[in-house]
């Protein structure tokens, strides 16, 4: 699903944010991307959905080299990738339903059909009763689920979730993680960037650890969990 070969990312004038990243993520995999704040997790995700351009190296997403993608092809790449943004990116003056429908709107899905799919998606994340509410009236966990609904409503083959449990209490965190696991079980490849180590031990999934832009470890779920317990 994703392959990275010797990928570097540097912003002009700063030391590199990502250094020699080599990574292979199989179709249908569930992967945690972890590491301290500032390690480069968000940047790595951005490279995958072309919000940033790699300075060097090759990145294949679904067999397509996005390091050399044409500008006009980016929208079509993004339609296969659902993204849960760290900062949500919800429109404050649009209802929950409209926010989720945005992802179908840009594809030209007719209104009625879109509404039906959005309602279905909201039900799946447990927000069907909040469809007509503005995002700011929702709790953090609910907003997070709206973002997840928007990312999933188009049934992407790849889901990127950036700190999806960022500021949530343990119960809300579990709700979100269960949703993500559910999505993965249905066949979507899921990448979760998180600095929350309790998630790693609980879910026992493959874990790639970034530190200062380097991959310092890449372990399967059991090993990663064992290390977390030992720590």
């Amino acid at each position: 699903m994703i392959e990275m070969f010797h990928v570097y990312k540097a912003y002009p004038g700063d030391p590199p944010v990502l250094t020699d990243i080599n990574l292979r993520v199989e179709k249908g995999e569930f992967l945690f991307l972890t590491g301290p704040s500032g390690a480069g997790k968000t940047t790595l995700l951005k490279l995958i959905f072309c919000a940033e351009e790699a300075t060097r190296g090759q990145i294949l997403v679904g067999g397509r080299n996005v390091a050399r993608i044409r500008e006009s092809a980016i929208p079509f790449l993004r339609r296969n990738i659902g993204v849960v943004f760290q900062d949500f990116k919800l429109l404050p003056h649009r209802t929950v339903e409209d926010n989720v429908a945005l992802a179908l709107d840009v594809l030209g899905v007719p209104r009625l059909q879109a509404r039906e799919r959005v309602r279905g998606m909201l039900k799946r994340v447990g927000l069907e009763h909040k469809a007509d509410v503005l995002p700011l009236k929702l709790s953090g966990g609910e907003q997070q689920r709206v973002v997840l609904a928007r990312a999933l409503v188009n049934e992407p083959t790849l889901l990127l979730a950036d700190e999806p449990t960022g500021n949530l209490d343990p119960v809300r965190t579990l709700e979100i993680m269960d949703l993500l696991r559910d999505v993965n079980v249905r066949g979507t490849t899921v990448l979760v960037a998180t600095h929350d180590s309790t998630l790693l031990s609980r879910y026992q999934k493959r874990t790639v650890r970034l530190e200062a832009g380097h991959i310092v470890s890449d372990e399967d779920g059991v090993k990663a969990a064992r290390r977390m317990v030992g720590a």
Partner: protein
């Protein structure tokens, strides 16, 4: 189905843009209206100048002087040739006719004329120039052509009057064109500026649209439609304004013109054709403004 859904979504988005910033859009529409109204007025003024020129040109007499002592049949051949060329009546004035006319027009010198041994006046042909050829250029060309004919010594016409009138018309037209260009530029700029505000107000939405896979075209179309809509609205309002203007000022104008020009030509201010042109012009201006804005402010 998808194209239809996209069109529907673009219209919804456009309507939302207008609803969110009605004042800004009103500014653009008012600017467009003023520009198009002025252009419509200028068109009317131009038509007026045209008819003034035409009617004054009617008083211009082109006189082709022939050689003294030219045989009558040669003069007649020339007359016929000129008549064919001009497409209007050509009258041969023999020296005798000319002398008589001079005597009629200037009775004080009649005695003097009678005492002349020889008729000093040359024969001539007087031309009535049909309306289409009364422009200074056409008259000058005609004069040059006639001057080259064998047997013709000179051609006289109200060159100065016609030239002056047409110079005035030219200056007016040039000034109008320059003013119009300035108004055009200002209008396009203002439309582009309002759309820039529109784009800025929705930058968050645009960013998210792009992140979830919107094409550039999808993002741009609502703003282009906004510009188009502004232009059409401006054209419609300008037409309405011109209608109101010609209704209220028309009769006075006709009176004034009747005084200036015999026959009282009052060109219609608002024709269906002009309405079409105003709508089209508005649409074009709006489109230019929005394309400019979209190009400059919706870079990926």
């Amino acid at each position: 189905m998808s194209a239809l859904a996209k069109a529907a979504s673009a219209w919804r988005s456009t309507a939302e843009g207008v609803r969110h910033a009605p004042f800004v859009h009103a500014i653009a529409v008012v600017t467009l209206t003023i520009a198009l109204f002025t252009a419509g007025l200028a068109r009317g003024a131009d038509a007026l100048i045209q008819s003034l020129l035409a009617s004054l040109g009617g008083e211009v007499r082109v006189t082709v002087y022939l050689e003294e002592g030219l045989p009558e049949e040669d003069a007649e051949t020339l007359r016929r040739g000129l008549e064919q060329r001009v497409g209007g009546a050509a009258t041969l004035v023999t020296p005798t006719d000319a002398l008589e006319r001079l005597g009629r027009e200037l009775p004080e010198v009649r005695g003097l004329l009678v005492s002349l041994e020889d008729n000093p006046l040359p024969p001539s042909v007087e031309l009535a120039v049909p309306e289409g050829r009364r422009t200074p250029e056409a008259l000058r060309a005609l004069a040059m052509e006639a001057r080259r004919l064998p047997g013709v010594t000179d051609v006289e016409w109200g060159e100065e009057a016609v030239a002056r009138l047409s110079a005035i018309a030219r200056v007016l037209r040039l000034g109008g064109a320059v003013a119009f260009a300035v108004v055009l530029l200002a209008t396009v700029t203002i439309v582009a500026a309002t759309l820039q505000l529109s784009i800025y107000a929705r930058r968050e939405e645009i960013e998210i649209q792009k992140l979830v896979g919107a094409t550039d075209r999808f993002v741009r179309v609502p703003f282009v439609l906004e510009g188009l809509l502004q232009g059409l609205l401006g054209g419609a309002l300008a037409s309405a304004g011109l209608l109101a203007f010609s209704r209220s000022a028309g009769p006075h104008l006709a009176q004034l013109l009747a005084f200036l020009v015999e026959g009282g030509v009052a060109p219609a201010l608002l024709t269906p054709r002009l309405v079409m042109e105003l709508l089209l012009g508005g649409a074009l201006l709006g489109l230019m403004g929005s394309l400019l804005a979209v190009r400059r402010f919706l870079r990926a």
